[in-house]
């Protein structure tokens, strides 16, 4: 046992002390907000600085009116299309919208001319406005006052409440649950891939540099493999912990900073959800805060740590097994497929099935089968999962990683001493079956 500890210690310290680890760990939480901030800033700048674009509108029906925005101004005229196009050419107009005479039941032939491709948002803005006007016109022709339609329009939002066995009611919101499942699933997926690869690289390094021969004369190959897997898990957990602390601190600073610029009421709600509730549960912000407060954090955090480690151990052992069988990382490709496919299936499944319908049959199976459950179950946990399903999934995951560790141990023990031969699946199978 003390020897495994030595291996864990070496694997951990040699990685955490690396400059690249420090750099990645400290910069990643800064880079994402920085990139997002940059985008927001650029977008704001662009909006501020953009010159007003004037669009010439020639409406042969004399029907439409388009409201000018900060970015676009519309100038209506009776100019001929030729004249209008000339204006665009000269640069005095950004574009030219031509609305020829059309049948109101089937409007066709509306065109936009411009020197450059117009943005999606401009086109949809124009389309929406024209559609609305045409619809109003048709309603009017059918004898309905458009004003009535406007009066009748009502906004409906459903507050969804989950009832648990004890009858406690919790306000839930699919968006918040979705976000939690989404982030947790992706984190586990990335963690398995990045750190699984590190295990593999480490094993290949020891094998190809022949250090392994000295190591296994001092301890059992299985101890060496396990020590490496656990040591690298420690590196990953350290990284995650630092990220959580950093992001937490940054968010506090940023929200604190933004808070001063926010309208009073919202800031108050953010700072004090209970107050917001008492002020009125109808405000959207209050509702989201109520949802956030209603989530079973203990269960989510516990599940996250469990699936995070369980998934990593399950796949980590497989990565170690693959690393031991090959002489160089390039040879590992042929064995990577059976490992990456279930991971990708789980990842795709998370988006296609689990997050959209956490209680469907597919979602159920994805979250039970150990190869996909670490990612898929995280998509379900925030929505609430029956206890027995969670227990079954976790139990199977434990059995799963015990099994993969056993298989990988068998391959590893023989693989690390084999040089110069490219093993096939058949040889791997032989190694697994071998008693010695």
């Amino acid at each position: 046992m003390s020897k495994i500890w030595l291996v864990i210690h070496r694997e951990y310290v040699s990685r955490v002390k690396k400059k690249s680890f420090l750099l990645v760990t400290l910069l990643t939480p800064l880079i994402f907000p920085a990139i997002m901030g940059l985008f927001v800033w650029i977008a704001l700048e662009e909006e501020d600085n953009q010159a007003l674009r004037i669009i010439e509108v020639v409406d042969d029906n004399k029907l439409f009116f388009l409201e000018s925005s900060e970015q676009y101004a519309f100038s209506f005229s009776d100019a001929s299309p030729g004249q209008a196009k000339k204006l665009v050419h000269e640069g005095s107009r950004y574009g030219f919208l031509h609305i020829p005479k059309f049948d109101i039941k089937n409007p066709t032939g509306i065109s936009f001319y411009g020197e450059e491709n117009p943005s999606m948002s401009l086109i949809s803005y124009l389309e929406n406005n024209l559609r609305k006007k045409i619809e109003e016109q048709r309603l009017f022709e059918s004898g309905i006052d458009p004003k009535i339609i406007n009066d009748v329009r009502t906004k409906v939002s459903i507050k969804s409440i989950t009832l648990d066995e004890e009858g406690t009611e919790t306000v839930s919101d699919a968006t918040v649950n979705y976000a939690i499942g989404f982030v947790a699933g992706i984190l586990i997926y990335m963690f398995i891939f990045i750190y699984g690869n590190q295990i593999m690289q480490g094993v290949i390094e020891e094998k190809s540099s022949r250090i392994v021969e000295i190591l296994v004369s001092s301890l059992k190959p299985f101890q060496l493999m396990l020590g490496k897997i656990i040591g690298i898990a420690g590196v990953g957990l350290t990284q995650l912990l630092i990220w959580i602390v950093l992001i937490g601190t940054l968010t506090t600073i940023v929200t604190g900073f933004l808070g001063m610029q926010m309208p009073q009421q919202q800031a108050m709600e953010l700072a004090n959800p209970e107050l917001a509730q008492s002020l009125g549960q109808n405000t959207e912000m209050g509702e989201i805060l109520q949802v956030i407060a209603g989530i079973n954090y203990v269960q989510i955090v516990f599940s996250f740590v469990f699936y995070f480690l369980g998934g990593y151990l399950l796949y980590g052992a497989l990565f170690a097994g693959i690393g031991s069988a090959v002489d160089a990382p390039s040879d590992a490709q042929q064995f990577m497929l059976p490992v990456t496919i279930p991971l990708i299936v789980a990842y795709m499944g998370l988006f296609v099935f689990v997050l959209n319908d956490p209680n469907s049959t597919t979602s159920f199976w994805l979250s039970i089968i150990p190869l996909t459950s670490p990612i898929a179950m995280m998509g379900r946990v925030s929505y609430g999962v029956p206890f027995w399903e969670l227990a079954l999934s976790m139990g199977l995951l434990i059995l799963g990683f015990l099994f993969t560790t056993w298989v990988a141990g068998k391959i590893y023990r023989i693989g690390i001493l084999m040089h110069g031969t490219k093993p096939s699946y058949k040889t791997l199978w032989k190694w697994i079956k071998a008693n010695n």
């Binding site: 040699s14 250090i211 021969e213 000295i214 004369s217 001092s218 301890l219 001493l417 010695n436």
Partner: protein
């Protein structure tokens, strides 16, 4: 110190060791000889408990080989390996701790060896910044750091320049004087004759020879004599191909069933016998002869 009885090991249909018996007494340097692929590495790996034999027993210090013996064995594999990015000190500490030394003991030992081989200034260097010879020294220290009672060295001199090879040779002899049993696996016959008290030769999975250097040399005696004659009184027979140098003739003759004295009196008829000496084969010649006679593909 080490006793091996009826050891067998095969990989599938490939036989690596067939009925190997060895007895290595305490405090000697034991040469393990044999061509590539003969089964030496397999034997060494079994002693190191890296792999298990199919059948047969291995005893260390009179006890059946068990995990606790790991700490009394030091092993320098033929293919050397160190963590390139690790510092000399950290590396030695890691290997020493894996061999069961406490952190305190390990540090004292490392300091002792660094000083002994004049390497103190390297201790904070990474392996990748060292020359090959320097790295080899680090590897050697890592092997002996825990004072093993049984030291297994696989081609210990490869990669060393003559100066450093000499240092390592002296270290091996010093360890032997302190009572360490050394098993030396090598192709370099001159170092075998210089260092080894006893040898065993393995070819195609079988032990084909063992004993002290003298015993081994007496097994294979081609009975050929080296002769120098001068002041010739009559012409030498044409079939004695000789080399002339200022009136003295040198050649070799096999005994061909005669007694050495008979051959000598025959020679005296031709002139003055200046030299009459039996050619003792070198270990190299014995090695080549034995491997050829037991077959080698």
């Amino acid at each position: 110190m080490l006793k091996i009885e009826k050891l067998y090991k095969s990989y599938g249909t490939n036989k690596a060791l067939t009925d190997v018996n060895l007895d290595v007494s305490e405090g000697i340097v034991f040469g393990l000889l044999g061509p590539n692929g003969a089964g030496k590495t397999t034997l060494i790996r079994i002693i190191n408990q890296i792999i298990d034999g199919d059948s047969g027993e291995v005893y260390v210090g009179g006890e059946l080989l068990a995990p606790k013996h790991i700490e009394m064995i030091g092993y320098l594999p033929e293919e050397r390996g160190l963590y390139k990015k690790m510092k000399v000190w950290d590396q030695m500490l890691y290997f020493a701790r894996l061999k069961g030394l406490s952190s305190h003991e390990a540090k004292a030992k490392i300091n002792y060896w660094l000083e002994k081989l004049e390497m103190e200034t390297w201790k904070d260097k990474k392996i990748e910044d060292l020359s090959k010879g320097m790295a080899q020294k680090v590897q050697f220290i890592s092997t002996v750091i825990h004072n093993p009672r049984l030291l297994i060295l696989d081609e210990p001199f490869s990669g060393f320049d003559p100066m450093n090879a000499e240092i390592i040779k002296n270290e091996i002899l010093e360890l032997k004087a302190k009572g360490t049993t050394v098993i030396l696996s090598t192709h370099r016959m001159e170092s075998v004759e210089l260092l080894c008290d006893q040898v065993a030769m393995i070819n195609r999975s079988k032990k084909i020879l063992d004993g002290t250097i003298k015993q081994v040399k007496s097994i294979y005696r081609p009975e050929v004599y080296s002769i120098t004659l001068d002041h010739l009184t009559k012409d030498l027979p044409a079939e004695w191909i000789s080399k002339e140098d200022e009136g003295s003739y040198s050649f070799t003759l096999p005994l061909s069933g005669k007694h050495p004295n008979e051959l000598l009196s025959e020679l005296m008829q031709y002139g003055q016998v200046n030299r009459f000496q039996e050619l003792i084969p070198s270990m190299e010649e014995i090695f080549i002869h034995q491997v050829k006679s037991t077959g080698n593909e």
